[in-house]
């Protein structure tokens, strides 16, 4: 109960600058009453209480479990067997870690409230052509791949910027060929994947892994997983849009051929 109160207070503090800003602008700049004020206030209360419950539940149930798991899976005793003393990391031994990273990345992204919000908006704005679940699953696959690759990077100790640079190159090339209507949404989907649910679990995995893999330094190698989780969804969404585009083009070509015959 005490925890919930603390989290509720923190959420209120998050909302405070937004409330101040909006009331300030309404009173001083726009100088007009806010329409549907009661509905907005009730909704605002829902958002604050809902988010606080959500975070309290996560901290009670899922975060401790996920963190213990990240520790256990990256423990050298689990990976190499208890007897061996390891001085050099063998990247092939970390199969379960990569799988865990991918699956937890996918799962947390599906539950990410900001992504739910953006998918809802995208569905509404595109008049239904972009399906909410389609977007969310595509983004989640991107995050899964990204985090899995990120753990591989920590295990091998290869420099972070190389991966990010290559990722950027891929995004740039994809942007040239992708349908224009999806580009802005794809870029946005990179930023929304990493908030309340994903960051704590993924950060724990990164720091735990870099602390236990021989030869890694948490200060240098522990960071960067979040960067992977925000880059690869962009690639996934652009790729998916391209695939869809190509499919429709091909099917219209086949139709044209048939009509010509």
């Amino acid at each position: 109960m005490y925890d919930f109160g603390k989290i509720l207070l923190a959420t209120c503090r998050d909302v405070l600058p937004i409330i101040l800003l909006i009331t300030g602008f309404q009173l001083l700049v726009l100088r007009q009453p806010i329409p549907h004020l009661r509905r907005l206030l009730v909704g605002g209360v829902y958002v604050v209480i809902g988010l606080a419950l959500f975070l309290a539940g996560l901290e009670k149930a899922l975060f401790p479990l996920g963190k213990i798991m990240a520790d256990q899976l990256s423990d050298p005793a689990f990976i190499y067997g208890a007897a061996e003393i390891v001085s050099e990391a063998d990247w092939k031994a970390y199969g379960w870690v990569y799988l865990f990273a991918a699956m937890i990345g996918f799962a947390t992204t599906i539950a990410e409230p900001s992504l739910i919000a953006v998918a809802y908006k995208a569905n509404e704005v595109s008049a239904g052509t972009i399906s909410q679940w389609g977007l969310r699953i595509t983004v989640a696959i991107g995050v899964a791949f990204g985090i899995s690759l990120g753990t591989f990077r920590i295990v091998t100790g290869t420099p972070l910027y190389l991966y990010i640079l290559v990722g950027y190159m891929i995004v740039i090339v994809q942007t040239l060929f992708a349908p224009k209507s999806i580009i802005a949404l794809a870029y946005d989907s990179g930023g929304v994947t990493t908030s309340t649910v994903t960051v704590p679990l993924v950060a724990a995995l990164g720091l735990g892994l870099s602390a236990t893999v021989p030869g890694r330094n948490p200060a240098l190698d522990g960071f960067g997983l979040i960067a992977f989780a925000s880059l690869f969804p962009i690639i996934a969404v652009l790729g998916y849009a391209q695939l869809m585009n190509w499919k429709t083009k091909r099917s219209t070509k086949i139709m044209e051929k048939r009509n010509a015959l």
């Binding site: 959500f54 149930a61 599906i110 704005v125 309340t196």
Partner: protein, 244 residues
């Protein structure tokens, strides 16, 4: 009638959460081969998460989206670019500067920098470094929303700006000290909180739909992308400035 709507919403939230439950149970039972510790507490926590998510999504539709859109329409109707841009900057800056995730990351970064011998290890210089980092991230998010709103007004294509930003990030990665690179990349991800994202998305879409010649899908999205790109540039810039 109402109960069936509520039940439906709860079912939806449960579906959103199901993958996490499956993944954790699979690894706990099959891979690590251990029973779930404190099962009762975990179940209770999961119940809270489902209830919280249901309420949040409901509040989203009732409140956060309409507020963002109403503000966008009202400011567009007022026709003052100055006020629109000030609102954009203030929204980005004020929601980021007190963000707990950012405060945590800034402290972490200060510790790393002092361990690496880049700054004085005294508490005062640590404080100063963390504060500077926080300010530069908050300023960069404010600026990002401002630039993003400017783009919607003018109708600039989003990819030129983003790709330009990527090129800057790449160039800076080459010259920036390596202690700051990981933090800089991550800073882009932590700035956008769960309350800011829906609000900013609604602002962009609302703006794009109230300005003639802009498409909500083409021009309305993209604000978040700026908000995750600019902090990377600013944090690396901060690193370069401080460590020289």
């Amino acid at each position: 009638m109402i109960t069936s709507i509520i039940l439906n919403k709860i079912k939806q939230s449960f579906t959103d959460l199901l993958p996490i439950i499956l993944v954790i149970s699979f690894f706990q039972i099959v891979v690590l081969q251990q029973p779930l510790p404190q099962l009762g507490e975990v179940l209770f926590g999961t119940l809270l998460v489902v209830a919280g998510l249901t309420l949040f999504v409901q509040g989203l539709e009732m409140s956060l989206f309409p507020i963002g859109e109403t503000m966008a329409h009202a400011l567009a109707r007022k026709g003052s670019i100055f006020w629109l841009l000030s609102f954009a900057f203030a929204l980005g800056f004020s929601t980021t500067v007190a963000e707990p995730a950012l405060i945590a990351v800034a402290w972490e970064a200060a510790n790393i920098a002092s361990q690496g011998g880049l700054i004085d290890p005294g508490p005062e210089s640590l404080q100063r470094y963390a504060f500077g980092l926080r300010m530069s991230v908050a300023f960069s998010v404010g600026l990002a929303i401002l630039v993003g709103v400017m783009r919607i007004i003018r109708g600039w294509p989003v990819h030129y700006l983003i790709i330009g930003g990527y090129v800057v990030v790449m160039l800076m990665s080459i010259i920036a000290p390596k202690e700051i690179i990981g933090i800089a990349y991550d800073a882009g991800g932590v700035t956008t909180s769960t309350i800011t994202v829906p609000l900013v998305t609604a602002l962009g879409v609302g703006l794009a739909s109230s300005i003639k010649g802009r498409s909500p899908l083409l021009d309305g999205f993209g604000l978040i992308a700026f908000a995750s790109l600019l902090p990377m540039i600013f944090v690396m810039g901060y690193g370069l400035l401080i460590f020289r």
